[in-house]
Structures are given as structure tokens and as C-alpha cells.
């Protein structure tokens, strides 16, 4: 019974990702190609919480990369630092921007750079949003 309930819940989340009333809406998506000689790229986008509840993004995954992590670049007393973010909260109706010099996705590419990449945003084990884009640069 529990397995059935879990499956149903997952189906609800997944269906929510592909319909107009998805909990998260992504815009201005940019994924940078790694510069020659390195395997690191960055991801930038704006995420809007389209629900009336707080959303907590706890991980970002992709079948195309070795890893994707949420990071934040900050300037503290003239020192540039980068922190890993374990979670990013988005209040109802609000937008969080992943942008150069601020929050961003740190992407570790494998050997090849795919033509199309998929980014999946999760709250715990629940998939909130899946977006496809083309690496730039």
C-alpha cells in the first residue's frame, strides 16, 4: 500500500513538472560550456515559485554531468569566496536568480560536452522541475 501511495505521489510531482501549473517556473536559462582545458561550467537561471507555499530546493541533478551543485560567489572584505549551498528557499510568488557573481550552478562536465543538457530541481526526493537547454559559449 505504501509503495502504491509513493508511486502515486511521484506521478503527481512528475506530472506537475510538465504541465502549466508546475510549482517552479524557470526563465533566462544559460549553461556555459567549459572553457578549453577545464571541466567546470556554470549554470544561470531565474526560478519562480508558482505555488502558495515555500519551496526548498535541496539538490540539482543532471544525467549529462558528473555533478551539479548550487554555489554562491560572495565578495567579503575584498575577498572573493565561493560557498556550496545545501538548499535554496523560494517564497510563494517570489523569484530567485542564479546569476554571474552570485548564486549559480557549478557544473562538472564529463569528457564530452552534450548538445542538449537537462537540469532537474528537487525538494528532497521529489522532482519539482526538469528543463532542457543548450550549452553556450
Amino acid at each position: 500500500m505504501m509503495r502504491l501511495l509513493t508511486s502515486l505521489l511521484c506521478c503527481c510531482w512528475l506530472s506537475a513538472c510538465s504541465v502549466e501549473n508546475a510549482p517552479l517556473v524557470a526563465t533566462d536559462i544559460v549553461v556555459t560550456r567549459p572553457l578549453p582545458g577545464v571541466r567546470m561550467g556554470a549554470g544561470y537561471l531565474s526560478l519562480t515559485n508558482a505555488t502558495n507555499q515555500r519551496i526548498l530546493i535541496t539538490k540539482v541533478m543532471s544525467p549529462n554531468f558528473e555533478s551539479v551543485e548550487m554555489h554562491e560567489s560572495v565578495l567579503e572584505d575584498g575577498i572573493s569566496r565561493m560557498y556550496k549551498l545545501d538548499e535554496v528557499a523560494i517564497l510563494p510568488g517570489r523569484t530567485v536568480h542564479f546569476e554571474p557573481g552570485g548564486k549559480h550552478l557549478m557544473i562538472r562536465y564529463g569528457v564530452d560536452v552534450p548538445d542538449v543538457v537537462t537540469l532537474q530541481f528537487y525538494a528532497g526526493d521529489a522532482l519539482l522541475l526538469s528543463v532542457d537547454t543548450t550549452p553556450e559559449g
Binding site: T32, L35, P36, G37, V38, M40, G41, A42, S67, E69, H71, S73, L75, G78, I79, S80, R81, M82, K84, P100, G101, H104, M106, I107, R108
Partner: protein
């Protein structure tokens, strides 16, 4: 009016006009840097021994004969380092298009020499156009350069498979005599370099 009087009047008029013009010229405000902090007296650098992107020796003297915009970063930095490098490259390009007689050389100093070999640096700086070089080498030698410039950097663990390097975001201007001449504090904008560099470079 006799001719002698005419000459005297002409000379008086010329003197007055010249005097007025000179007073305007002398008292007119000289253009000054708006963002950069110029050191009261350029500061000599310590000796160090590093490698450039071609694997050739790069020492204190290698800064000579160029104005050098020096930034600190590492190639595994996906966000702020390429952003800063691009700002400097864009500023250099703007100066070129404005017809500048002299252009600064952009020098990336790796604060992650453990991963940044000369070959990796070479590929990396090649993405930012002409006039951009990179230097790397033994950590102790990098420290000789950065300590003399008051530049901080420190390795920090992000997770098991990756480390980052916290580092000063300052951009330092080293003059053709290999002296620490001025600095630009972050955040960096193309317009700041475009405005200030020609003024500072013309001052020598």
C-alpha cells in the same frame, strides 16, 4: 596715434590674452582616476620565479616594458574568475577601439598552482583574446609575489571531490618598471578601467 603706441597696445593685448589663456590652462582640473587607488610612490616587488603560459620563466623583471593589469584566480573557478577576466579583456578592447597608443597586458596569476599547470593556463587564457597571459608555478613562489602585493588566497574544501580557493578580488596595476603602481578594488566594471587606465598610464 603713432606707430610706437600701436606696437605697445598690440603687445599689451597679446600679453593679456596669453595671460588669461595660461591661467585657464594652469588652473583647469586635470583628469584624475575615479576608481583606482594610485600609490603615493610605486612599490618595488619581491623577486620570484614562476612560469608563463608557454612554460617560459617569468620573474619580477618580466613585468617590465608593459603596463600590467594583474588579477588572481584559478581555472576551476566557474563563475567569478572568467567574469573578471572578461571585464578586463573588454576594457582592453574598448581602449583599443578608442585609439589608445598603449594597451595594458592582462596577467592572470593562478592561486591554484596545484591544478593549474602552464599547459592548462595556456588553454584557459587563450579564451580571452590578445594581450592576456597567465602565470603559475610553485606555491612558495606564487606567495612571494602575492605577499608583496598584500594579496590573500587560501584553499577551501567544498566537498570530497572539489576544493575552491578564496582569493583577493583586487586587480593590481604593475608599471613598466615592475613596480606596484595602483589597484582597483572589486566589484569591477569595464568603464572604470576604460576611464582610469589612460590617465594613469599617461602620468608616467
Amino acid at each position: 596715434m603713432d606707430s610706437r603706441k600701436k606696437v605697445i597696445i598690440r603687445m599689451a593685448v597679446i600679453s593679456i590674452v596669453t595671460g588669461v589663456w595660461l591661467s585657464f590652462w594652469i588652473t583647469a582640473p586635470m583628469p584624475r582616476p575615479q576608481t583606482a587607488t594610485v600609490l603615493p610612490a610605486p612599490l618595488g616587488l619581491a623577486e620570484f620565479s614562476l612560469l608563463d603560459q608557454n612554460g617560459d620563466a617569468f620573474s619580477r623583471a618580466s613585468f617590465g616594458d608593459h603596463w600590467n593589469l594583474v588579477l588572481f584566480g584559478f581555472t576551476n573557478c566557474p563563475d567569478i574568475c572568467p567574469l573578471t577576466l572578461q571585464v578586463l579583456a573588454n576594457a582592453r578592447q574598448q581602449m583599443l577601439e578608442a585609439g589608445a597608443q598603449e594597451l595594458p597586458r592582462i596577467v592572470l596569476v593562478s592561486v591554484d598552482p596545484e591544478r593549474d599547470t602552464a599547459a592548462i593556463i595556456s588553454q584557459y587564457v587563450g579564451n580571452f583574446g590578445a594581450g592576456v597571459i597567465g602565470i603559475t608555478g610553485e606555491l612558495a613562489e606564487v606567495r612571494k609575489l602575492t605577499d608583496g602585493l598584500g594579496v590573500f588566497f587560501q584553499k577551501t574544501s567544498i566537498d570530497d571531490g572539489y576544493y575552491s580557493v578564496d582569493h583577493s578580488a583586487v586587480v593590481i596595476l604593475i608599471d613598466p618598471q615592475s613596480n606596484f603602481h595602483a589597484l582597483f578594488s572589486a566589484p569591477h566594471e569595464v568603464a572604470s578601467f576604460e576611464h582610469d587606465l589612460p590617465i594613469i598610464m599617461a602620468s608616467q
